[in-house]
Symmetry: C2
Subunit: 468 residues, 2 copies
């Protein structure tokens, strides 16, 4: 991202020279999202300083692209009047996004700064459940009537075009706000001023209900190749529109969630950006399925024990019993740690694909994953102790002998070591592939499984040899 | 999909009654993609019959939504004049999509039916590598000059709006075709007729090079919230545009590919639709990584053997030796079959998410996966024989004893059984979850690993008990 470094440098210089004009011209020259990202590289105080120097229109646009941490910092530092000015420039769906991310005191401050009308609009959207059409729709659209003429439509657009989120498609409603049809904006150019909209409108319309799930909404865009999708309530009244650019975010979000869910990561716990998710949430999102896997492992373990018991030669081994006892644990652990490495590598691959990882953050990732791995390891080690205690106690009728204590001790230690190493391996592999300019998805599940298997065997049988 | 059944029924009835008017009115009433999908449910002859009855404009639109099998059938049945009429209605990027999917004789027939101009345009696009901006762009856009007036722009649109793929954003070029800026269509409505486009255009422009990878292109749309992206050559000359609806397909395609690659499925072999991929291709896409996994398993195997040799009690077992010998194979197989189940469940989950699976096709899926599983099983069983022969031969200095032959035989049989069962399990689990109205992604990797582990242990130790 050479461009970002370039913007950062220019801003740094302009700030040093207190060149307000230069800063404003930079904000006008580059894409807002690039400007926002370059700005985020500075410390918060400097961000605020630059932000205060921008002209209102650019400031508002750039504000929507800042990460929530910086947005919060700015809102807290701003006076009510300053916030009000920014909010006036934003579309309601941007304000909703903002409210979703902020802590409650900051939300209060935001709501206080909005006008009564906007507040009413916001409440109208906020009443819809998360991830539904209602929650992602925009209400900045214009209603036209079938008996309006082209001329009247053009006048309406001239009057209100700044308030519209999107006007490439126009929607026609009847006197009860019921959706009748739509016309493309170009129809206003092609047809004569006196033409009634009803005569040129397209009444073959695709629309969705406010309560439809956002994934389903995204499927509509995919299936019907549309740019704007009208949202209606149960009385078929037009209440909002969803634009295709919002749906792109939904699509990316939904595939990330599918991937995470599949890897046994609870997507609800994880923010869409890796770095915005706390260590505890990261741990929480992963621990449930891994624990279940270890617990279902009891079945595998018991089946193996029963089968081993059927074999004369294995029942009364002169020595090396502990190695045999380690094996059912090893099988289950190979599965668990394969999944752990898959989880961390999938997260890394996804972050790389979404361009979220920059060089200086690799250290952060390592520290974070080391801790997450440790927490996962401790939890799984604990579960392992409990499940082995129960298995052995049942097997021996209440007592646990020396060999069994040793197996419990070393297998538990082994789990801690393997889990942490597997977790780091999952991170390392895609980064390494990226570094040598290969596609990180080559760090595929089969490759990870192979490496983790070797790791497990080395650590486990190694420990077993100590006991023997 | 109640609507599809409804359309199908109506068509069936209209066809029986030979009611051409009715068929035409159905094609006008419903979305083309729905009509096409409903039509596909009929046998090919009937599809052709319905298709011939449609009016040209609807026929052309519906044609683009048909699957490639039906498209091929129609083109083969049509006369050159008929094809020419259809092609005249299509945008060049739709013709390109068509050419990409058809066998070479059909492509010849298509190219023969196009005019010289269109052929030139097609060649212009076809020269770009697959998956680049050039390959997915549309060349149906209009060039405007900075000193054109709003009035002239409107005239140009009136004249050529039927040839445009997208005109919500208009692009301004200089006399050397270099891209200077863009204006939103609404600017033509807001500004007076005599306004020069150069004075209202936005020169802060996002554009991409023809050679940019389509994934990167999709990232541009995501990052910059745009609806139309101009594509330039290395001289900054405007050569095409990419519209956001095309990018939605790219986004979906790319995440599917990422998921497939991660699961060790070669995405290049697999068509985007499950049912369009042949059994052999399905097998080919999966066998490579699985074989590698089994081969890397030799390392795991050898490490375990070496470690077992260090333990006095395991070296000279009175009986049950075969069980111990099965264990390194079991560990590797648990990994392999876990991956196999992951692969098939990921494919199924993805097909379900993309709405590709309908009720009557579940039988097809089962038959297909049974065969793919068998082919994979046979291949892996063969590799297993070879690797065990080598391992044992090296260990024993050239000879292979009775126990070893038995282990080779039963572990190989075991692999065949486990691989086929694991493959079916991966298909069954998501379908079952869907059936009981749960999210199929709960069929997560940890759950599959647990179940496959149990399966492996049961089959393997079961076989070992037979030998002992």
């Amino acid at each position: 991202m050479l461009k970002l470094d370039h913007i950062e440098e220019m801003l740094e210089k302009a700030l040093e020279e207190k060149d307000v004009k230069k800063i404003r011209s930079i904000s006008k020259e580059f894409q807002f999202v690039d400007f926002a990202e370059a700005m985020e590289q500075f410390e918060s105080k400097k961000v605020l300083k630059i932000f205060r120097l921008l002209e209102l229109e650019e400031a508002a646009e750039i504000f929507t692209y800042l990460d929530s941490e910086h947005q919060e910092y700015i809102i807290e530092a701003f006076t009510n009047t300053e916030i009000q000015e920014i909010l006036d420039e934003l579309y309601t769906d941007d304000i909703i996004d903002l409210i979703d991310e902020m802590p409650s005191e900051v939300v209060k401050k935001i709501l206080k700064a909005t006008t009564k009308d906007v507040r009413k609009e916001l409440n109208n959207i906020l009443k819809y459940k998360e991830h539904t059409a209602g929650a992602i729709m925009s209400i900045n659209f214009t209603e036209l009537k079938a008996d309006n003429t082209v001329e009247m439509a053009i006048k309406a657009i001239k009057r209100r075009h700044d308030d519209y989120d999107e006007i490439d498609d126009l929607f026609i409603i009847d006197e009860h706000n019921k959706l009748l049809g739509w016309i493309e904006l170009k129809q206003l150019l092609i047809n004569s001023p006196k033409t009634k909209l009803g005569t040129v409108m397209n009444s073959k319309i695709v629309n969705v209900n406010v309560e439809m799930d956002q994934e389903e909404v995204a499927n509509y865009f995919k299936r019907y190749d549309i740019n704007t999708l009208p949202v209606v309530n149960k009385n078929q009244q037009l209440v909002g529109i969803i634009t295709v650019d919002d749906v792109i975010d939904v699509l990316v979000e939904e595939s990330t969630e599918d991937i995470q869910n599949f890897a046994g990561i609870d997507a609800d716990d994880v923010e869409s950006d890796y770095f915005e998710t706390s260590i505890f949430k990261m741990y929480k999102s992963r621990v449930v399925w891994l624990s279940i896997l270890l617990l279902i492992g009891v079945i595998t373990h018991v089946i193996m024990l029963l089968m081993f018991n059927l074999v004369e030669g294995l029942k009364d081994l002169p020595s090396g019993k502990e190695v045999i006892m380690m094996i059912p644990i090893l099988i289950v652990l190979a599965g668990v740690s394969g999944n752990i490495a898959n989880q961390s590598s999938l997260m890394m691959i996804r972050s790389l694909a979404l361009n979220q990882v920059h060089k200086k953050e690799i250290k952060t990732i390592f520290g974070k994953e080391l801790l997450v791995g440790f927490l996962l390891g401790i939890t799984l080690a604990f579960i392992n102790v409990i499940r082995l205690l129960i298995i052995y106690a049942v097997q021996e009728g209440g007592t646990i002998n020396h060999s069994e204590w040793m197996v419990i001790l070393f297998s538990t230690l082994g789990i801690l070591v393997v889990v942490m190493l597997a977790n780091l391996l999952g991170i390392l592999l895609p980064l390494l592939l990226k570094k040598i300019k290969k596609d990180p998805t080559i760090a595929s599940s089969p490759l990870i499984t192979s490496l983790v298997d070797i790791l497990c065997v080395l650590v486990f049988i190694g420990f077993a040899l100590i006991i023997v």
